[in-house]
């Protein structure tokens, strides 16, 4: 059990990095996912096809493959993902004093992958709005834009919150993969490092790492459960 105390700073550092990456990836995925969702429900067939294609590709591929793609494909496209080298973020990417593209590649992979699910969560929100609401709006003479703005979106947003939350929880869990992918210092790589390389006893390390993830996932999940129950009652 000593390892939990001796190496507390290592656990805390892993937790902190995982949290930072998750926040960044969540922001990126929400933005990209919203764009893809707009494409997916747009009335223009080629755009819809792009949106649908995007979702089908990224939803059906393992994140692992997406990560490898990012790592090999982006350099081949001539990019080291330098566009992510924003001053504030650099501190996270060059955590070990070394600026390596893997951090950015991993982040991009996580964003690309999660965005497909964000899109679906948003879309499920739109689908959850009863057709009668839009029909009533239309029969009042509201135009498409007004219908969207005053009737559909305010309601679909509410219906999307819970599924979006589930997507983010899943993303937090998926972020564990980056530690096995080359990003050094997050929670999962910490687990590997402490047990394999530094030879600490397995059980306490496992407990420490588990707590790290559960701190992020369980309260969020409980919050969603409550939201969901509240919505179910309100309906």
């Amino acid at each position: 059990m000593n390892v939990l105390i001796d190496k507390f700073d290592v656990f805390a550092g892993g937790f902190w990095l995982t949290l930072q990456i998750c926040v960044l990836a969540a922001i990126g995925a929400l933005i990209l996912g919203a764009v893809v969702a707009v494409l997916r429900i747009s009335p223009v067939p080629p755009l819809r096809a792009v949106g649908t294609g995007y979702v089908n590709v990224f939803r059906n591929m393992p994140l692992t493959v997406v990560m490898f793609f990012a790592a090999f494909g982006l350099p081949a496209l001539g990019s080291n993902a330098d566009f992510l080298r924003v001053p504030g973020l650099d501190a996270i990417f060059s955590r070990l004093g070394t600026d390596l593209p893997y951090f950015r590649f991993a982040l991009i992979a996580l964003v690309l992958y999660t965005a497909a699910f964000v899109c679906e969560a948003l879309r499920s929100g739109v689908n959850a709005v009863p057709a009668g609401q839009a029909e009533a709006a239309r029969s009042l003479g509201l135009t498409f834009g007004q219908n969207l703005r005053y009737v559909v979106l305010p309601q679909s947003w509410k219906a999307s919150v819970v599924p979006l939350g589930s997507v983010i929880i899943a993303m937090i869990k998926n972020s564990a993969l980056i530690g096995f992918f080359g990003v050094v210092g997050d929670l999962s790589q910490t687990a590997d490092q402490l047990t394999s390389a530094e030879g600490y006893a397995f059980v306490p390390v496992a407990i420490g790492i588990s707590i790290g993830y559960l701190i992020m996932t369980v309260p969020l999940g409980a919050l969603l459960d409550r939201l969901e129950k509240r919505q179910a009652v309100a309906r």
């Binding site: 009668g132 009533a136 135009t143 309601q155």
Partner: protein, 248 residues
């Protein structure tokens, strides 16, 4: 209840849902100020007929004119037409995230560009008229079915429509609330509103309608004044239907 010049005219209207012939060569003319009740067995196309009139459902062939103009296909013109035809649904369809008053004023403010204060005042008057002025600031889910449906009628009336369409407005209601909605509809009919009403309430048909239309299998089978229709339906199908509805 003077029946003036025709306001809604359907001519040879056909509608297919895939292989399903839902409206089969329907022709119908509804005069200004006329109240037409549509009855018929489930699936006979009553709702579809109702919905084609404000083009919530486009038709496959035939023509529909409203106030002398063929129904526009899209865009602003269609929105304008719809704002002139009030519609009341079986399941109310009040906007769940808005208060009753907001439901009623949304159309006038956003479509008609009325000033909020004006719309609000008229909205309150309408809510008063349908008997739920005291519920103005509640959300739909807090109201009983009968109150919700009356709010929906007020919402439609707020657009000052030339005609009103009702699709089974009382069949989702508890029996003791049916009356309050029918009362509002009856008074509306009395004031000369042009109305097309799909309903199973034979009492309303008898007392408030100028004409009763009986539909079966997408066809308009009978079209007669209520007294004549109920006393002596011409077709076998109508007789059969009436016997099922009226015996118990």
């Amino acid at each position: 209840m003077a029946t003036g010049e025709p306001l809604i005219v359907l001519d040879g209207v056909n509608k297919w849902f895939g292989p399903l012939h839902v409206l089969d060569d329907v022709s119908l003319s509804v005069g200004k100020g006329e109240v037409v009740v549509v009855i018929g067995p489930s699936g006979s196309g009553k709702s579809t007929l109702c919905r084609t009139i404000n083009r919530l459902e486009p038709i496959t062939s035939g023509t529909i004119t409203f106030d002398g103009q063929p129904l526009p296909a899209e865009g602003k013109a269609l929105a304008k037409l719809r704002s002139e035809v009030g519609m009341v649904f079986q399941s109310f369809n009040l906007f769940a995230h808005k208060t009753i008053l907001e439901n009623v004023t949304l159309g006038p403010v956003k479509v008609r560009k009325e000033k909020a204060s004006v719309a609000r005042e008229r909205g309150l008057a309408l809510l008063d008229r349908v008997g739920i002025a005291n519920q103005a600031d509640k959300f739909p889910a807090q109201l009983s079915g009968g109150q919700q449906q009356r709010a929906a009628i007020a919402r439609a009336l707020a657009m000052q429509p030339k005609a009103m369409l009702f699709d089974e407005p009382t069949s989702a209601l508890d029996p003791e609330m049916v009356g309050e909605v029918l009362d509002v509809m009856t008074s509306l009919a009395g004031e000369g509103m042009t109305m097309v009403v799909v309903t199973h309430e034979m009492g309303f048909a008898r007392h408030a309608a100028n004409r009763v239309i009986f539909m079966a299998d997408g066809q308009l089978v009978e079209d007669a004044p209520p007294s004549q229709f109920f006393a002596n339906p011409r077709s076998e199908r109508a007789r059969d239907f009436l016997s099922k509805i009226l015996t118990h």
